[in-house]
Symmetry: C2
Subunit: 503 residues, 2 copies
């Protein structure tokens, strides 16, 4: 069928052709079907969206499609029905209960990255894993496929890495671990994410102190120069399938099936050539993995797939029922990480960071078995980790002379006060995150929460137990109102108060 091109401003995640429903029907297509469009010797497969307002002899292209076809308004384009690719039938086959082989999984991942699979197909792939799991073979193939569809970086020497499966607010440990490990002479080029649902991703926190957006070449140069780095993974093109699955399915549905999590994490590690990985699995009520036995099972799957793809994985099951340290939000967390490197900061941050860093030191043989944390604490206590962090900050274009007290935090502040003498009996991860986000985190980098104490902290009536910081007064008020509703901290079961109000 020959159709004239009508301009069409929409830019979707996948290349799209807009058709009148009757025109689509004549092509044998409905919404979501694929058609092949041909113009001047170039052809592309596009997804159909129908609209009754589209004239019957016209076809609309989104920008991706129009650019690919090099076509302008009014030009005639040949369109024909295009059947679903083989990968779509592999996804259906898996819905039917079959296992997939290496080539089938590779085809699915390729087509996800190339935009040939529709949203329902992508969701079916992830939900199939959610409901039925995957065999170890399938996860192994998926891991390789995810690595192979993206950029790979060869650092030319042994790469050490650290990863957390997330789910706990205030988890700024990478900003302490990376300089300790790099100060020990190991190479630790750390890619990290920006917040999707949390009040600060590691990349958001690091961006307070230095640039985090680099090309793969820059990332390599910076990491080799400083021995370590903390950058945003989003511009590196590593494992692009993962971003698509998160955006199109996992985030909207709030799911993260273990098989997909393992393949995505290890796929990214393969892409940077990591051979040694310490994996942080925060566990406990209100974290991603609530029960210790589930954490153990996830750890053993990570190690098994690691073994199959050539990465030695050691997992740390850590306490995840309340925030790590006291600070939540980009600037507050960066400030607290610097305090820790300067020799201060909360104990929980120091302990967790040195424990995980110690594992890598032992894997590298820099520390003997059982001595890793001691050595990590020595590196931290001696100021070598702080000096290394300044090198990393400088290599990433930041100010190496920054001190924790220089970090600017939001100028608006509201405190929650203890309503009675007592102790903190509950700190709720989810509510802490929501309140910090209401205050403006992560896009307002100075916004967030500072806890005066966590579980077991003894307070007197009228003392502050939690401060909300923000860059805009209105947002801080909103966050306060939300805090009253969500009750992020409980003192012996009572609600908290606001300065200067007394309820």
């Amino acid at each position: 069928m020959e159709l004239k091109v009508k301009p069409f401003a929409y830019v979707s995640g996948q290349p799209t052709a807009l058709l009148n429903p009757d025109t689509a029907s004549n092509l044998g297509a409905i919404d979501g079907s694929r058609i092949r469009c041909e113009y001047a010797g170039v052809s592309r497969i596009l997804f159909v969206v129908t609209s009754a307002s589209m004239p019957k002899d016209r076809i609309g292209f989104d920008k991706i499609a129009a650019k690919a076809l090099k076509v302008r308004p009014g030009k005639p384009v040949r369109a024909s029905y295009y059947p679903p690719p083989p990968s779509a039938s592999y996804i259906r086959k898996r819905l039917g209960g079959s296992q997939l082989n290496r080539d089938e999984i590779q085809a699915i991942v390729n087509d996800i990255v190339d935009g040939f699979l529709s949203e329902p197909e992508i969701c079916a792939f992830v939900l199939g894993q959610f409901f039925r799991g995957m065999t170890m073979e399938e996860v192994e193939y998926l891991t390789h496929s995810i690595a192979d569809t993206g950029q790979k970086i060869d650092f030319g020497r042994s790469v050490y890495d650290k990863h957390s499966i997330g789910g706990v607010p205030g988890n700024k440990v990478s900003l302490v671990i990376v300089p300790i490990v790099a100060a020990a002479g190991l190479l630790i080029p750390k890619t990290s994410s920006r917040a999707i649902t949390s009040p600060s991703g590691t990349a958001d926190t690091m961006s307070v102190l230095a640039d985090v957006e680099f090309s793969p070449e820059e990332f390599k140069r910076i990491s080799l120069r400083a021995g370590g780095s903390i950058v945003w993974g989003g511009r590196l093109g590593l494992a692009p399938a993962d971003d698509i699955l998160i955006r199109r399915c996992e985030h909207p549905l709030g799911i993260d099936p273990p098989s997909q999590m393992i393949a995505s994490v290890l796929g990214k590690k393969i892409a940077v050539g990591a051979k040694y990985l310490v994996l942080d699995i925060p566990t406990g009520r209100g974290s991603k993995v609530e029960r210790t036995e589930d954490a153990r099972s996830l750890a053993s799957s990570f190690m098994e797939i690691g073994r199959r793809v050539g990465i030695q994985v050691v997992c740390g099951i850590t306490y995840g029922s309340q925030p790590v340290g006291h600070a939540v939000g980009p600037a507050l967390e960066a400030k607290e990480a610097l305090e820790c490197l300067e020799g201060g900061g909360p104990i929980s941050l120091r302990e967790k960071s040195t424990a995980l860093a110690g594992v890598l030191l032992e894997m590298a043989g820099v520390a003997t078995s059982g001595d890793g944390q001691t050595i990590a604490k020595q590196i931290l206590g001696s100021g070598r980790a702080l000096r290394k962090m300044k090198e990393i900050i400088e290599a990433q274009g930041g100010n190496p002379n920054v001190r924790s007290q220089d970090v600017r935090i939001g100028s608006h502040k509201v405190s929650l006060l203890a309503p009675c003498d007592g102790y903190v009996s509950e700190v709720d991860n989810h509510s802490i995150g929501e309140v910090a986000k209401a205050a403006g985190a992560p896009s307002d980098i100075g916004a967030g929460i500072l806890l005066h104490g966590k579980r077991g902290y003894v307070v007197k009536k009228g003392e502050p137990v939690l401060d909300i910081y923000g860059e805009h007064e209105l947002k801080v008020s909103d966050a306060y109102a939300l805090a009253q509703r969500l009750k992020p901290i409980t003192v012996e079961g009572m609600l908290l108060h606001r300065i200067p109000d007394t309820v």
Copy 2:
């Protein structure tokens, strides 16, 4: 946040706001998030799509959204993050393994119909049913919810109905059953679908003889006047949730979970006030339900839910491994149905139609138990069914004097010849459907397939066993090429030939 409106031509299935990714991030939104937009006292919830080509202070609306907000380009709109509706959390809850109550299911169906649920959420709802099933209580609630979210029609007297779960090409039995049942004095207002993946839906077939698109009021008037009707359900607004689920999930993924199928079918029957339903479940290799025990189990679920919602359901498990009758495609099937009403046509069509019609006659007490098919055959044989069909055709604006030989079929024809003496050992439903579609069905109404015989049919070498008809020579050639590849008919395991070619 206040944003200026930028014109935006896209019309999506759901109300959409187009934002720069940074603007979205400042709102706390990503692709697929919801935002609330307010203009001149009107507010609407929209889904976010991000595009880097969008200026940061602008917001684009699709036509649905722009119309709802009554907003024009350049006007300032207030936008804020809007959390997922409760129904989204019910879908997540069900992913976690919980059962849903009546209110939760009603909320999900309402929000599907109102466009408040995203594609991943809709797919998760259907895939959750696919993987985990539903309890009888849940299916009952879902059935009522589907009926309640759409138009309802009260005919003021007992309504009889017939439905097939589909999956077999050439299943034109409704065009024979409806006039038999109506000729017996029962009211049978039959809504039917157009083809989604098949070469002809019942509505496509009927549209060869009469109009099929009517408003609910016209449908009621026509049905009461003639005692029966065969119309397209698409314009009646019955059970709109069903169409959305089919378009957005079931069709793209090729799935049709029993719980959703039962709720959709019976929800539509509630909407027309049907109290008696005969349900055709074609069973066998290459049909929707391959094993008889699965057909039995589906039948018993249909009857149980029918009992709960006040519809008496009798199921016919019919032979579904090859087409019904000999004709596939709108005009060819309409012609064959008329032949049957005129006293001719293939035996399989006559037997299946009278068997299913007989069930309704028994349910109504028009025939005594066990005598239904005999009475149905008498009505067919006496010409009363043909006269009734002419009344129905006339009531639906068609030519009541049409004879089977008047039905115009495609003028281009290619025959497949038997490559040897033998008998037909295989007729493949799927391949028959694909070849008929390649020939142009259903949009070219004269296109399709005519089988000379089905399984067991004895042929001599060089005799035609299957004719491909079409309105365009090129499509008939394409269909022939496809037939060579797919082998829709097997004669003792040999391939077939083309006139005048000899392979």
